[in-house]
């Protein structure tokens, strides 16, 4: 029972990551009609916003390290700690949450620049060309990050107060052994909040309503005298923010490297398609579904029956769903067929 509950949490956690990336991908596809292979790179850039913020905060004075005798080595002491003492250390400790705040404007700028600078020239081009150009962009972004930060993963830690494991079992009167990392819980609930926020924005604001109308029938909305293109640009920015913030929040779980985006790219495309091209609820539902299924397939009992099932389960589910439901879970007819 405990084991199942934990796997459910794992699955939701994993699913939250998939859902956040897939949500952005679907937003961009649904509004702009662009297949954005550089979306994973946005996730990765978000993670490196966290790395940069941390490096800024720990900008250090180099002190000669006396313990190394073979050659001249230096120790680093952050200026923040020198100037502000314990308060400085506390700020450094909270670098990931600070990075989330920083990521919002930064990712918005990156998103707008990307859309205005490149993507908008590809609205009318074929999907194959969109894939090639955004894939090229993803490689370029990855290489720039590699040249700047190196190829090694760079660990980031969650604030001390949420870095341990939460006694979930004890809180709900279940087994004592039932623990779950605080940060993963924070991550899960923040993700749900972000997803909810995006939906609320589209559903309950006039701005969102126009965007939705534009997704359904771009031409008519244009005829009504609304500058739908500008709104879609903003939507691209929002998608970039969602991906970037997800990336920042994921850093304490997975030390980021320049390849992070590529690793998520393929999986998030599977998620989007399983959910149904252009369907936001579909993308979110598929994200959580695949996350949970993947977790349960990794359990020892399951693996004993079908060895190696955890390696292929996502793809197996994708095949099964696409064969039974031609347009994924919630896809519309005639989109990308």
């Amino acid at each position: 029972m405990d084991a199942l509950l934990l796997q459910l949490l794992n699955g939701l956690d994993k699913g939250a990551a998939y859902a956040l990336i897939a949500l952005g991908l679907t937003l961009v596809f649904g509004t702009l009609g662009v297949v954005n292979f550089a979306h994973g790179a946005l996730f990765m850039l978000g993670a490196f916003v966290a790395v940069s913020v941390n490096e800024l905060l720990t900008f250090s004075k180099r002190v000669k390290d006396e313990s190394v005798t073979f050659f001249d080595a230096y120790k680093e002491q952050p200026y923040l700690e020198i100037w502000l003492g314990d308060f400085g250390s506390a700020i450094i400790d909270w670098s990931v949450p600070i990075a989330i705040l920083a990521a919002i404007p930064i990712m918005l700028l990156i998103g707008l620049a990307m859309e205005r600078g490149l993507i908008r020239h590809f609205y009318k081009r074929s999907h194959a060309e969109q894939i090639l150009v955004t894939f090229g962009l993803a490689i370029v972004i990855g290489e720039i990050v590699k040249a700047t930060f190196g190829a090694n993963p760079i660990p980031q830690s969650a604030p001390e107060i949420v870095s341990g494991a939460a006694p979930v079992g004890a809180l709900f009167g279940l087994s004592e052994a039932l623990v779950y990392p605080w940060w993963r819980l924070v991550y899960l609930f923040s993700s749900l909040a972000i997803i909810g926020g995006v939906f609320a924005f589209l559903q309950f604001t006039t701005y969102g309503m126009v965007v939705r109308a534009g997704m359904a029938d771009r031409e008519t909305v244009g005829l009504l005298g609304i500058n739908i293109e500008r709104r879609f640009t903003i939507v691209f920015g929002i998608a970039a923010i969602v991906a970037g913030v997800a990336g920042v929040m994921y850093t304490p779980i997975l030390p980021p490297d320049y390849n992070l985006g590529m690793n998520f790219l393929v999986l998030s495309f599977v998620v989007v398609v399983v959910g149904g091209m252009g369907s936001l609820p579909g993308a979110v539902a598929a994200g959580f579904l695949l996350g949970v299924v993947q977790s349960f397939a990794s359990m020892g009992a399951v693996k004993e029956i079908v060895p190696g099932i955890d390696q292929i389960i996502i793809y197996l589910i994708a095949v099964a769903i696409l064969l039974t439901r031609p347009r994924g879970l919630l896809g519309r007819k005639g989109v990308m067929e």
């Binding site: 990392p181 997975l254 030390p255 390849n259 993947q294 020892g300």
Partner: protein
């Protein structure tokens, strides 16, 4: 981008024809057989080219970079530049610091991408186009095995870089391939007694294994050793390569009743799984009245840096560590540190040593003819290279030397001070019979 020696079609055809003839005719080898014709003979050229085949893209790019640094340093020292590094401490030494056999050492590099295909393509380019006499490098066993068998076919010596699976000098050993790095069997043999001393005889272990050859070979060796000291293996779970999020494999450990987690992952996988295992509170847990422990059979600096403070107190093994106090280590760390500003990794060390060993063998035999070089290296005993007295075993081309058991430093005094050496396990304890893993070296002449 064109290195001077282009390989024309004519010389190539000539080369193959001669190689064919050489194979047909029964030949008697004498020491220093100058007249032998062999692939990429530098002949009268004033330079000789070595091929450094390391990962420059992909998950081990950083490790590859460090290997390349070490090779560049080795070339410098071979050519008599810099402070000479291990040339000052190696015993016995034939090298004179004037290149190899008086020829200036040059090098070409290639990107293995940590893929067997790409690594072989890159090695072939070095051999066919750039005319290298020796290929060296690599940061994973799949690549090492693939390149090693290629080099056997092409008749060019391969000095393996970082490769840890038993297969490299076991099942897939080759006459033209040599490994200085230690292997899974040695890791387990070295860890066994230390784990027994530190954690006791009554432990229950849970193993998470990367689901491919290397993982299995470490898993096999670790199971054998830990069960011999009386530990019980609760479960062994195979995890897919590059899973990223390992939480679904870690949570079952929590209530499995195990009190030791053996993480058989390497590189990024190990960074991820260890980081996450610590987040799940495994390090602070008490099970069966004992402190929960985590063991990582193969440690590297790349991993220790990537996992940050999560490595504190975690046991593992390495081939070499820069904080050793012997003469060879000090000389190497000094010249590497002065050149680059930080101490070398174990990958850098093994690559540097391999390059020197090859050069020394050529210098000692007086010829680049690979058969003679191989015969010299087989059974070669040396010292002063940072690992103490070392033997290149003739039967499987594996080096035998002490293995280090290390622990993640709880209170690091500097940013390089990530690991502390717990024990230097003597060679006798980790030596195994050469036919334990059956394999065939193949012929000298190809």
């Amino acid at each position: 981008m064109n290195k001077g020696k282009t390989f024309t079609r004519r010389t190539m055809l000539k080369g193959t024809a001669i190689a064919g003839a050489a194979m047909a005719a029964p030949t008697v080898f004498t020491r220093g057989a100058w007249a032998q014709d062999f692939r990429n003979d530098p002949g009268d050229s004033s330079t000789v080219t070595l091929g450094f085949n390391v990962p420059q893209t992909g998950p081990y790019a950083e490790e590859g970079k460090d290997e390349l640094r070490a090779y560049q340093l080795a070339v410098k020292h071979l050519n008599g530049e810099g402070d000479g590094g291990l040339l000052n401490t190696m015993k016995p030494l034939s090298l004179k610091g004037n290149g190899i056999l008086g020829k200036k050492v040059e090098y070409v590099t290639g990107d293995t991408q940590t893929k067997s295909d790409a690594a072989r393509a890159s090695a072939k380019r070095m051999i066919e186009r750039d005319g290298v006499v020796m290929v060296t490098g690599g940061s994973s066993s799949g690549v090492a095995v693939a390149v090693q068998s290629l080099c056997q076919e092409m008749g060019v010596i391969f000095m393996a870089g970082l490769t840890h699976a038993n297969d490299t000098t076991g099942k897939d050993r080759r006459r033209y391939g040599f490994r200085h790095f230690f292997n899974a069997h040695m890791s387990a043999a070295a860890l066994g007694p230390v784990l027994e001393a530190e954690m006791g005889k009554e432990r229950r272990s849970y193993m998470l294994t990367a689901d491919y050859n290397w993982g299995w070979s470490v898993e096999g060796s670790m199971t054998e050793v830990t069960e011999k000291i009386g530990w019980e293996t609760v479960n062994q779970v195979r995890t897919p390569l590059g899973a990223g999020d390992f939480s679904q494999y870690i949570t079952p450990v929590l209530d499995s009743g195990a009190d030791v987690l053996v993480l058989i992952h390497y590189g990024k996988d190990m960074v991820d799984s260890l980081t996450q295992a610590v987040q799940f509170g495994l390090r602070d847990k008490q099970v069966n009245g004992k402190d929960f422990q985590v063991v990582v059979p193969l440690y590297s600096r790349l991993m220790a840096q990537g996992a940050g403070k999560n490595v504190a107190g975690i046991y593992g093994s390495t081939n070499w560590h820069w904080s050793l106090q012997d003469e060879g280590t000090q000389a190497f760390v000094k010249s590497f540190g002065q050149e680059y500003g930080f101490p070398p990794s174990q990958a850098a060390h093994t690559c540097y040593v391999q390059a020197l060993l090859y050069a020394n063998a050529v210098e000692a035999t007086g010829t680049f003819y690979p058969v003679e070089v191989i015969k010299f290296l087989e059974g070669f005993e040396f010292d002063g290279m940072g690992n103490g007295p070392t033997l290149y075993r003739a039967e499987d081309h594996q080096c035998f030397k002490p293995v280090l058991v290390v622990k993640g430093n709880e209170n690091p005094t500097s940013q390089f001070d990530l690991l502390e050496v717990v024990n230097e396990v003597p060679t006798e304890q980790i030596t195994y019979p050469h036919d334990l893993y059956a394999g065939d070296l193949g012929p000298y002449e190809v």
